[in-house]
Amino acid sequence: MRHTRPAVGVTALVLLAAACSPGPGAAPGAATPAPAKPGYLAVADPALPGGGTLNFQVHVDTGAATGLDPQLADVATSWQLMSLVYETLVTVGPDFSIQPMLAERWETPDPTTYVFHLREGVKFSNGRAMTADDVVGSLKRLLASKSVWVGQLGPVKSVAKDGDAAVRVTLKEPYAPFLAALANVPAAVLPMKEVEDKSVDLATTMLGTGPYVVGEHRQDVSWSFRRNPEYWAQGRPALDAVNVTIAPEEAARIAALQNGSASMATLGNVDSAGMLAGAANVQVLSQATTDFYYLMLNTQAPGSKFADPRVRQAVNLAMNRTQIAEVATGGQGKPTGVTPAGLPGACDPATLPSATGGGAEAARRLLAEAGAQNLSFTLAIYSTEPAPAVAQVIQQNLQQAGITVKIEQTDEATWAGKVYGKAPAEFDAALSWFAGYADAGMVTKWWNPDVAGFNAGFMKADAALSEAIDAAGKATGAARTEALAKVCQEADRDAQMIPLVTRPVTVAYRTDALSPSLYATEGYGNVLRLLPEIRAKKAQ
């Protein structure tokens, strides 16, 4: 996410150079992925022997300012790296169903009670067996923390042991996303005995039950992980070691894939697939995610142009999400409402008023009603692709409705200062993206600034929307789908934060080095979710 201006030039140059390279048809030795199971992009070949090393490259390290404490990790890059060491009670399957992890099963005797039966034989990497006290202590510690994940965990009333091998969690009221919230790294089971006797400082040391242990870490340079000898799953992980290189420059990651020094990498630019099209033994896959871009309209600045809801709705009407998805994400993203497209129960964005309301012409009429015919505003974006491309499509869309948009592209720090630095915030409109998580109702909570205080600088709580979000949290079954649809409608009307399109992730790997397993869609930004299954094709 952090690039410099030279980096933009570098990427442009590599793009230019790539244009001169042979196209996909001329790719010598290009591999075709084996047919994957439904819900999977790739499935590792179980016939391959274990062992070997994954050399993985990503663009950014963990957000280490908050340390390595998983409960304080609030960005997907941190979750991904921490998931090598930490595990949760439950996890998510390829269809976002909740699957066992450290809890081998659970019961819900009533809508507000969950009893988790802990897996036997689970040990932390220091050799100590995981106990119910670790689970209880971890959840209590999380609930008492300043973690943003407390808001996602929901209305937890109590957490207590239920015998030596079970944990009972009681909620104040039904909360549908509870299990999905438990499936992410901030809800990991921590070694509470060591935390409490202060023999382990979680801010600086990672100690979990996961498949790997940390060998070495140099911030913003590299990580090395080695297999956890105490890991509970027989025969897993298949790989002996994982080396992670932090390579901010996308061209460097592409080069590493091409020359084989990386066996897997994540890429941000949707054009990267084209750049690697001619590379031998490199497979490029687009993993859908529930993450999505959204447009913030600042209603809290003095004299805000967006205080009038008709102006916001006009902007919403004038944007063509399909075009944004096609042009800015290379057709890999999908239009979405506030419930992320791809998640069970998510609403259909094509049915929302912003999609059916008449487009640019209707927007012009609304602007005329609001007396804002010559609306112009500045759209603050950062330079990480494809944000500039998304902004340019928005600019062209809004021009059709007579709205002039000036794009202000800055580095991420400047952008963050404008958007989150002061209240009221100092911007007209801004572009960003949210992780979409694993339940359609989770990210909707960020649409209520009373819950998501970080948004309070530019938006105010809308009573009807907040009520709809709360109702969707409590609803179950078919009623929940209706409740989520209501949330979509209200967010579309409120239009202080306007959902746009989902954000795909490009994953590339060496077919001569790796047989990976990957979900087709990921909710927590974790490309390495199925790492224990990944197998190496040759010793490295």
């Binding site: 952090r2 690039h3 410099t4 030279p6 980096a7 030039g9 570098v10 140059l13 590599v14 150079a17 790539a18 390279s21 957000g63 280490a64 300012a65 908050t66 340390g67 609030d74 960005v75 300043k146 943003v148 801010a203 600086t204 140099r218 911030q219 913003d220 340079v221 590299s222 290189t245 390579a247 901010p248 420059e249 061209a251 460097a252 592409i254 080069a255 590493a256 091409q258 020359n259 020094s261 001619g278 590379a279 800055t410 580095d411 991420e412 720090a413 400047t414 952008w415 963050a416 200062g417 404008k418 958007v419 989150y420 630095g421 960003s432 205080g453 970080f454």
Partner: protein, 322 residues
């Protein structure tokens, strides 16, 4: 005695320069738009977390106090702690120094070993107009094409066509000496293009200036061989500007080859500073800039000594002029 006085003057001048740089960089990082708290902690941080971060690093104090504390700490050898890694900045810089030093050494070596002979050759054989023009064109291109253009082209070509040299990444020397040298070939080559071209141009200009001196004409008249004339009369007298240039380039590169380290993903001082600027990691940026300034000052002093040794008339002790 005169040398001691000269060193004292230099030390005073260096201290004043570093003090000025410290004020400038301290003010500059705080004037950069965008807050460190939002950048480092991310958008979800609460006001309490931001305040806690500011308090932890003394950033909640008045700016003058912050500066005073920082300056006192720097004077004692403490460059502060990175807000990102929570590690002492001095340790981080030291850990990255070998990468930058190695890159600098290779680049400067290429500039000296190739640039100086090229410059001499194009000067003494300036008569054939075509060769001289080609030399000027090539060296002009070398100094004017930005490093990020050459770097990204090299990354693309050497990774796309598997030309036998790694394009990006770093292998520590202690881990694999051959791999280390291989990983430094391309970055050093890219970085040395500017240094080599500038050295060749400067050498050529200096040699051309010396060629018209009467003592060269006299040497020719005495029947001395061309190689003898070049070695004993031309190179020594033309060395001043070349030494100055190479020292300046060395100082610049030791301060961090920002673009090349970033493009080739080398964990050196340059890429460290680039990332720190993007994240508003104040202590790192301040230390990095101060270090670069200090390197420049030291290199300038060494240049003065070296030039004096080469040509006593220009020496710091003034013996030659006496």
């Amino acid at each position: 005695m005169r040398l001691a006085l000269w060193w004292s003057g230099r030390a005073l001048s260096a201290a004043a320069t570093l003090l000025g740089v410290s004020v400038l960089i301290f003010a500059a990082v705080r004037m950069m738009p965008g807050g460190f708290a939002e950048t480092i902690l991310g958008p979800f941080a609460t006001p309490e977390q931001k305040a806690e971060l500011a308090a932890r690093y003394g950033l909640d104090q008045p700016v003058f106090l912050q500066y005073g504390h920082w300056l006192a700490a720097v004077a004692g050898g403490d460059f502060g702690t990175s807000m990102i890694s929570r590690q002492p900045v001095a340790d981080e810089l030291l850990a990255r120094l070998p990468v930058t030093a190695e890159l600098t050494a290779f680049s400067v070596a290429a500039a000296l070993l190739l640039g100086v002979p090229l410059g001499v050759l194009t000067a003494v054989r300036a008569r054939p107009r075509g060769g001289a023009a080609a030399g000027r064109l090539l060296s002009g291109l070398g100094v004017s094409v930005p490093e990020f253009v050459l770097g990204s082209l090299a990354v693309f070509l050497f990774s796309r066509y598997a030309l036998g040299v790694p394009a990006g990444g770093y292998v520590p020397f202690g881990q694999d000496p051959a791999g280390n040298l291989a990983s430094m070939v391309l970055p050093s080559a890219v970085l040395s293009v500017f240094a080599l071209s500038a050295t060749a141009r400067t050498t050529r200009d200096a040699v051309l200036g010396v060629l018209v001196e009467p003592y060269v004409t006299a040497a020719v008249a005495r029947g001395e061989t061309p190689w003898f004339i070049v070695r004993h009369h031309i190179l020594r007298n033309a060395a001043g500007p070349v030494v100055t240039l190479v020292a300046t380039i060395t100082a610049y590169l030791l301060g961090g080859a920002l673009v090349v380290e970033y493009v080739f993903n080398l964990p050196g001082i340059g890429s460290y500073i680039v990332q720190a600027v993007g994240r508003r990691d104040y202590a790192v940026v301040q230390a990095g800039v101060l270090l670069a300034a200090a390197v420049f000052i030291v290199m300038n002093a060494l240049v003065d000594l070296a030039v004096g040794a080469l040509d006593p008339r220009l020496g710091v002790t003034g013996k030659g002029a006496a």
